[in-house]
């Protein structure tokens, strides 16, 4: 308890601690510790900090202003990132989900030629170079097990209609590739369990992280500026 109260003295401004800190510490020793003193000291420290000189007031206004500016810029930037929609289909795999076998089928189905065909048909990534677009398309495809004999195949895109259409196309290509005996020597059966559903808006982790980044960036900026101003003040005073 005494440690907490002593720590609270450090919340007072340095000039105040130099003048009254020792006295206050002695008072705390003499009067004994009470929990209600924690709030009293905290409030006292905040009141002392609010008694600002003109310079420090200006400094705080500038620091807050810049922090706010950075925050709003980051917020605006994050809002300009388009939403992405993911359309998901379910494949039934008989006799059971087999990662290696499914990987072979997917590898045969998603050749660079097949993917570039999808990109051109759907005009997925505008005028971007085809190699980069193929990588982008591969990253937007997600295949994962959804049960002992089910697999989830999904595709994400900024346009929900295209997301559903491409997802449908991808599923069709997987099923077609599976018919080829050289790709599927074990006779794995793959068929639709559920067609691509209505696309769902993805959790925008990027958006949130950008907004979250704004606060520490603004604060860091504020700290640097406050240090510069403090140094300038010290020079002026000397």
């Amino acid at each position: 308890m005494k440690r907490v109260l002593r720590f609270l003295i450090y919340l007072y401004p340095a000039w105040w601690r130099r003048r009254y800190g020792r006295e206050l510490e002695t008072l705390l020793e003499d009067s004994g510790s009470r929990w209600r003193d924690v709030w009293d000291l905290f409030r006292g420290a905040m009141e002392m900090r609010m008694q600002m000189s003109r310079w420090s007031f200006v400094r705080i206004v500038i620091v807050c202003g810049i922090a706010g500016l950075v925050l709003s810029c980051v917020g605006a930037l994050s809002m300009s990132i388009p939403y992405r929609y993911r359309s998901t289909a379910i494949l039934k795999i008989e006799p059971a989900f087999d990662t290696d076998a499914l990987n072979r089928v997917v590898h045969a189905a998603f050749t660079p030629q097949a993917l570039s065909e999808i990109i051109r048909q759907e005009h997925l990534y505008g005028e971007a170079p085809i190699d980069g677009s193929i990588d982008r398309l591969r990253r937007a495809i997600l295949i994962k097990p959804a049960g002992s004999n089910l697999a989830q195949v999904s595709f994400a895109h900024e346009n929900p209609v295209q997301a559903q259409r491409v997802s449908q196309d991808l599923i069709g290509r997987i099923i077609s590739a599976n018919v080829n005996p050289s790709v599927n020597p074990n006779g794995l059966r793959i068929e639709f369990d559920a067609p691509p559903g209505p696309p769902k808006r993805q959790f925008e982790g990027k958006r949130l992280s950008l907004v979250g980044l704004g606060l520490p960036t603004g604060m860091l900026f504020g700290v640097v500026l406050a240090l510069i101003l403090r140094r300038r003040r010290a020079r002026t005073a000397s």
Partner: protein, 96 residues
């Protein structure tokens, strides 16, 4: 009367005191226990206004304070004002 600055001035009107002595005295005559943050907040403000001042002492840890002439004047004004309020209130209560 719960204004900490007035309580501190009233306490020092009796004689020089350090923080803990003021705290004890105020609790005794006003029935109010000032927290350490409130007490030193009041001391800071009173010293800034020139209404109290530190008394030279060898014990730096227990710094006594003394009410100044300006402080006495301010206390007298405030108490007179309070006195008027008390008298008016009491007479109105009697009439009611």
């Amino acid at each position: 009367m719960s204004d900490p600055t007035l309580l501190v001035l009233a306490s020092l009107a009796e004689g020089d005191k350090h923080g803990y002595a003021m705290m004890e005295d105020i609790e005794l005559f006003a029935g109010v226990r000032l927290g350490p943050g409130t007490l030193y907040g009041a001391i800071t403000r009173l010293e800034e206004r020139g209404w109290i001042g530190p008394v030279k002492t060898r014990d730096e840890r227990r710094q006594p304070y003394r009410i100044t002439a300006a402080g006495q004047e301010h206390l007298a004004e405030q108490l007179a004002s309070l006195n008027r309020v008390v008298k008016t209130g009491l007479s109105r209560l009697k009439q009611a």
